[in-house]
């Protein structure tokens, strides 16, 4: 499939410091949900803003549907952006906020308000049409922002940490809704987040960034199962990154077990002996952290039944083990 969004060697420099975005290339297939993921300062927001046209590109090109938009203003790109903390116009009602893009395009008042009402319905806020942003809850504001971004019928919707201002319950709910909308509208969403859980739940393609570069871009399952580097493994979580005699490996914590001798394990280094430092009860699972004699720590996420069958306590000696095929080798450099 022809990619919808393509970045070719895109670089962003502010002043004379190191590049904030360092020559990244990426192509995002049409109608996919893409998450840009990474710690703060990794360049994900700059990348998003360059795609949106709110930030100039220092080097490289940005293509949308095969068209080079590098030098085009935001409105001419066919993108729309949903801003962090929404940036709703405080002096306009929910309905007028949504209609704003049409107003700028010179659509008549009756026409644009009618269309806006339709989008308001799409985000299930019909009753809030005449409220000002200050009179809406955070979740409601977010829906309005979403509708405002969608009304210009963009080919690509750009979302800058859209869920970070919501409480956890709402976040999950909105997450589902974003995914549903993306599916229904059949357009590409590019979503910046620093939460790996969010990225896992949403993405068709997740792009993990570090220091202005792409550390890994793939389906989340591939990333989780085959992290490309220790950084990726650590960032997405759920992995122990261990230096073992055979090299550096990532081992999923849920595949790590607490056994004297791991099942089917050999003495090929698929175990780590040490002392339990932490036992954390998490409901369905129990997290056990073990510090080895060489200073490395690793943890096991044990199903609760398994743990309670043979419990350990902090301070006790224990050995962590895993199946050899579960140890995913990492390149030594990362």
């Amino acid at each position: 499939m022809r990619p919808d969004v393509e970045l070719i060697g895109v670089t962003k420099r502010y002043g004379h410091g190191p590049a904030a975005v360092d020559g990244i290339s990426l192509s995002i297939p049409a109608a996919s949900y893409c998450c840009l993921l990474g710690p703060s300062g990794c360049g994900k927001t700059s990348t998003l803003r360059m795609i949106a046209g709110h930030e100039t590109v220092s080097e490289g090109d940005i293509l949308l549907s095969g068209r080079n938009v590098t030098l085009l203003p935001p409105a001419a790109r066919g993108t729309a952006m949903m801003f962090q903390s929404y940036a709703l116009f405080p002096h306009l009602t929910a309905l007028e906020n949504i209609a704003f893009g049409l107003r700028m395009r010179g659509v008549g008042k009756a026409e644009r308000l009618a269309q806006a009402a339709g989008f308001l319905k799409l985000v299930q806020l019909e009753k809030m049409a005449d409220r000002l942003p200050a009179q809406l809850s955070g979740g409601q504001q977010q829906r309005v922002a979403l509708a405002r971004a969608l009304i210009t019928r963009p080919k690509v919707l750009l979302l800058d940490e859209p869920l970070s201002a919501l409480d956890p319950f709402l976040r999950t709910q909105m997450r589902e809704e974003l995914k549903r909308l993306q599916r229904e509208l059949g357009i590409t969403f590019i979503h910046v987040t620093h939460g790996q859980e969010e990225a896992m739940a949403l993405s068709d393609i997740a792009v993990v960034m570090d220091h202005g570069r792409i550390a890994q871009a793939a389906h989340p399952r591939e990333i989780f199962e085959k992290p490309a580097s220790a950084f990726v493994a650590r960032f997405i979580g759920g992995h122990n990154v261990l230096d073992l005699p055979g090299g550096r490996f990532a081992v999923r914590t849920d595949r790590t077990r607490l056994t004297p001798v791991p099942e089917g394990g050999a003495s090929d280094g698929a175990s780590l002996a040490g002392q339990v430092t932490t036992v954390e009860y998490q409901g369905a699972a129990v997290r056990v952290v073990v510090r080895a004699g060489d200073g490395q720590t690793a943890e096991a996420l044990l199903p609760d039944g398994l743990f309670h069958a043979a419990p350990v306590a902090p301070g006790e000696a224990a050995t962590l083990g895993w199946a050899a095929q579960d140890a995913h080798p990492l390149s030594q450099t990362a």
Binding site: G53, M104, T152
Partner: protein
């Protein structure tokens, strides 16, 4: 006791305001109904002072002129003040530079009112710098007389003085505008003027309102600038009141003051209706 505490806290200011603001205004209202002769006030209740205010075409003319000065000054200070504030808030990025430019804006206030106005004479006068420059450049043959002692010079002096009162509140509201709103507008396809008209201007309304109240109230009550800059050839209500006080026609002056006060209050009320300044306060 605690129920009374808020009242107690408000009492000192209320007392000061009552003594030094409400009481004098009440006195002015009372005196405006007095009769008078050359040197004394005659306590009475007569309407002649108001009749003279409303019956005389001169007062109407003077009130209209004053409104005209206020309106024109407002227009120019707003046009100037808005762009100056815009420049300071959105174009200038460096905080130090912004402060320096702000201080520059206050330069007109570094000297006394009188000196400032006297200084206009060598600049705008018939043989002043302006005329000499223009004639030297061959742009004009004859000195431009309207530069000084005219409505032009009155407005000029007002603008020179009061633009700052427009700049500061507008600047304040502009600084409070979330910069992402501008990006959001741009993202929605708004050009420079559309962003200005649909986002910045509406969000600056409180600042514009406060600035407008400053400027209009100051101009409406002015008497020194109008007299000196028009060379005494223009009248304003303030000047009329000051003349009446000078001639000890206190009740007439009081009646004019009451009418002026009412007019200014109405203007302010109208502005407050149009613009909710509470957002700023």
């Amino acid at each position: 006791m605690s129920r009374w505490f808020p009242w107690l806290q408000a009492a000192p200011l209320a007392l000061v305001l009552a003594t030094f603001l409400l009481l004098p205004i009440a006195l002015i209202v009372v005196v405006s109904f007095y009769d008078y002769d050359s040197f004394s006030l005659i306590p009475d209740f007569v309407l002649t002072n108001y009749q003279e205010v409303f019956a005389s075409p001169v007062t109407w003319q003077t009130y209209l002129k004053t409104l005209w000065f206020a309106g024109l000054t407002w227009l120019v200070t707003f046009a100037l003040g808005f762009w100056l504030a815009y420049y300071l808030a959105f174009v200038v990025q460096d905080a130090t530079w912004r402060t320096v430019l702000f201080i520059l804006c206050t330069v007109p206030f570094w000297t006394s009112n009188l000196i400032r106005m006297i200084a206009w004479v060598p600049f705008l006068g018939r043989n002043g710098i302006m005329n000499n420059t223009l004639m030297g450049a061959g742009l004009i043959e004859q000195p431009l007389e309207f530069l000084l002692f005219s409505d032009f010079s009155v407005i000029l002096a007002f603008v020179h003085l009061y633009t700052l009162f427009m700049v500061v509140p507008i600047f304040n509201t502009m600084m409070r505008i979330d910069r992402r709103l501008l990006e959001a507008a741009r993202d929605a396809g708004a050009g420079f003027w559309q962003t200005l008209w649909c986002v910045i201007l509406p969000l600056c309304k409180p600042g514009i309102g406060i600035g407008s109240i400053f400027v209009v109230v100051l101009v409406m009550g002015d008497f020194a600038t109008v007299r000196l800059m028009s060379g005494g050839q223009s009248a304003s209500v303030g000047l009329m009141i000051s003349n009446q006080i000078g001639l000890m026609q206190y009740p007439a002056a009081a009646a004019n003051a009451v009418v002026l006060l009412a007019m200014v209050l109405l203007l302010v009320a109208a502005m407050l209706r149009a613009i909710d300044i509470r957002k700023e306060l």
